[in-house]
């Protein structure tokens, strides 16, 4: 029984990590309808940002989010404006472009660091919270709290604020949104910026947990794809619950089968979900019947 509870907790903590790295990816996909392959690299940049803030300014990694998150937002806005927006009418080229960014950022960081692994220490790094027989590492608990706060905040933003409603309008019918006076290009820029900022936040939160390497984004993006397909592309709660499902699957698979099989099991579930519910578990059923149209 204890081991079962332990596995659930390990799974939920992992799920928090996966959910957090998926939030930005899902936001960008939901609004702009492009899959940002470089999302994992933006998380990686966030991690290195936390490292640099720690190394040069002595900032605790969690505190460095006040620098890293706005910088990643700006980077996202610039990438959207100068790389993706000129390719607006060529969705395939946009996907290739994000893949190009993936290669670029990975190799840029590799060239600068020479492949040395860095790690960031936080005051919270080695703190462990003990509840009865169960130990929870504080950095992982912080990630879990962060993903809950981000999901609630994002959900509140899109349902209770005018800019949030405008973003949803853009998601559902770009042309109509334009006719209502919404600047769709600006919405895309800000959304991509927000997606990058979320990646930055994820990077900062994960920096105390992982050893930094230029390729680390790859680990996250694979999980993030599984998460968003499982949860439902474009839905806030999709990334949230999808993250926990993938985390729990990984924890149970690791315990009862073999940790090495985790990817195989993720993607087995991923394929089954795609067959049974192509819209994802939290995607909107019958979207086509309700008039979610081709975007123009």
């Amino acid at each position: 029984m204890l081991s079962f509870l332990n596995i659930v907790i390990v799974g939920l903590l992992l799920g928090g990590i996966y959910g957090l790295v998926s939030m930005g990816l899902n936001l960008i996909f939901g609004v702009i309808r492009i899959v940002n392959f470089s999302q994992g690299e933006l998380v990686m940049l966030g991690m290195y940002g936390a490292y640099l803030s720690w190394f040069f300014l002595g900032l605790d990694p969690y505190l460095s989010s006040i620098i890293v998150v706005p910088l990643l937002f700006l980077l996202g806005v610039v990438l959207q404006r100068f790389i993706l927006q000129p390719l607006q009418n060529e969705p395939f080229m946009q996907i290739f472009a994000t893949f190009g960014l993936l290669m670029f950022f990975q190799n840029l960081v590799l060239a600068i660091t020479g492949g040395t692994g860095y790690s960031v220490r936080s005051a919270a790094s080695s703190a462990v919270i003990t509840m009865g027989e169960i130990n929870v590492s504080l950095p992982r608990l912080i990630v879990l709290i962060a993903v809950i706060v981000v999901a609630l905040g994002l959900n509140w933003f899109v349902t209770h604020t005018m800019p949030g409603k405008a973003v949803r309008a853009v998601t559902q019918d770009r042309r109509s949104a334009r006719l209502m006076g919404i600047n769709v290009e600006l919405a895309f820029m800000l959304t991509f910026g927000a997606g990058a900022a979320l990646a930055g936040l994820a990077g900062v939160m994960l920096a105390p947990i992982y050893t930094l390497s230029p390729q680390i984004g790859g680990n996250f993006i694979l999980a993030a794809f599984a998460v968003v397909v499982l949860g439902g592309l474009g839905s806030v709660w999709g990334a949230f619950f999808g993250g926990f499902i993938i985390g729990l699957v990984e924890a149970f698979a690791g315990y009862y089968f073999d940790p090495a099989l985790k990817h195989a099991i993720w993607f087995l579930i991923f394929i089954i979900v795609l067959i049974v519910r192509p819209g994802g578990l939290f995607g909107i059923a019958g979207a086509e019947e309700m008039g979610l149209r081709e975007q123009d």
Partner: protein, 238 residues
């Protein structure tokens, strides 16, 4: 409040294909103008060009005294121009109320926004009743009403309607047109309507233009066109 519209020598199209060729017409402030024509005549392109969704190749579009031909679509609602697209194109996964709120995007944060919302709920009682329902679940008639109401939320001076009768039963078509007429009277709007349902469009409008293959081929008071045997034969199947 209403505003005049004057379109002069407008050319427009998509890619290689030119759709509108030298279209000129006007609407005086407060008039209801119908542009009728067969499928593919260029009616929708005309409205989309005026609304800034399709960039014009040449020609001028004057809203009051201002040439709006080069102004991007998202800046036009705040100038008093709005378009109700064909089929309404509501935001299906947003509630009726949220659709209306987004319709008032250009008035957000102003007292007019709240007043507009109250006003629209009164003008369209059915929408008040359904305000928390998803727009995608509305019936065809309600959907069209909601689309008109959403457009009214921007406090327009000129409202353009693209085929408001499509997909509606004859009774509902009549209701929608009555609504447009009373709305125009009450709010003093200028209305530009494009329609395939020529009989209804001529009944509701003051003047009408016949668009054929991207060119205006007739212009006359609506009652005159409605009695014209050639028009009746060509467009009303009579």
């Amino acid at each position: 409040m209403s505003v005049s519209l004057e379109v002069t020598d407008l050319n427009s199209g998509y890619g290689e294909a030119s759709v509108l060729e030298g279209v000129s017409f006007n609407a005086e402030a407060g008039e209801i103008i119908a542009v009728v024509g067969a499928n593919g005549a260029g009616k929708t392109t005309l409205l989309n060009t005026i609304a800034g969704v399709v960039p014009p190749r040449s020609g001028s579009i004057k809203l009051g005294d201002e040439d709006i031909a080069r102004i991007p679509a998202h800046k036009l609602p705040s100038k008093g121009l709005t378009l109700v697209p064909e089929g309404g194109r509501l935001f299906p996964f947003m509630t009726v109320r949220e659709n209306l709120e987004v319709g008032g995007f250009c008035k957000r944060g102003t007292p007019e926004f709240t007043r507009g919302l109250d006003e629209v709920m009164q003008l369209f009682p059915i929408l008040g009743k359904r305000q928390n329902q998803l727009a995608g679940l509305l019936s065809g008639g309600e959907r069209q009403m909601c689309a008109v109401a959403r457009a009214v939320m921007s406090q327009p001076q000129l409202i353009m309607l693209d085929e408001p009768s499509v997909g509606l039963s004859p009774k509902l078509v009549h209701e929608v047109f009555e609504l447009v007429r009373s709305l125009a009277g009450k709010k003093g709007l200028t209305v530009l309507l494009v329609e395939q349902n020529v009989a209804e469009a001529l009944e509701v409008s003051d003047r009408a233009y016949v668009l054929d293959h991207g060119q205006i081929v007739r212009a006359a008071p609506s009652s005159e066109l409605a009695d014209d045997p050639a028009i009746r034969a060509a467009y009303m199947g009579l």
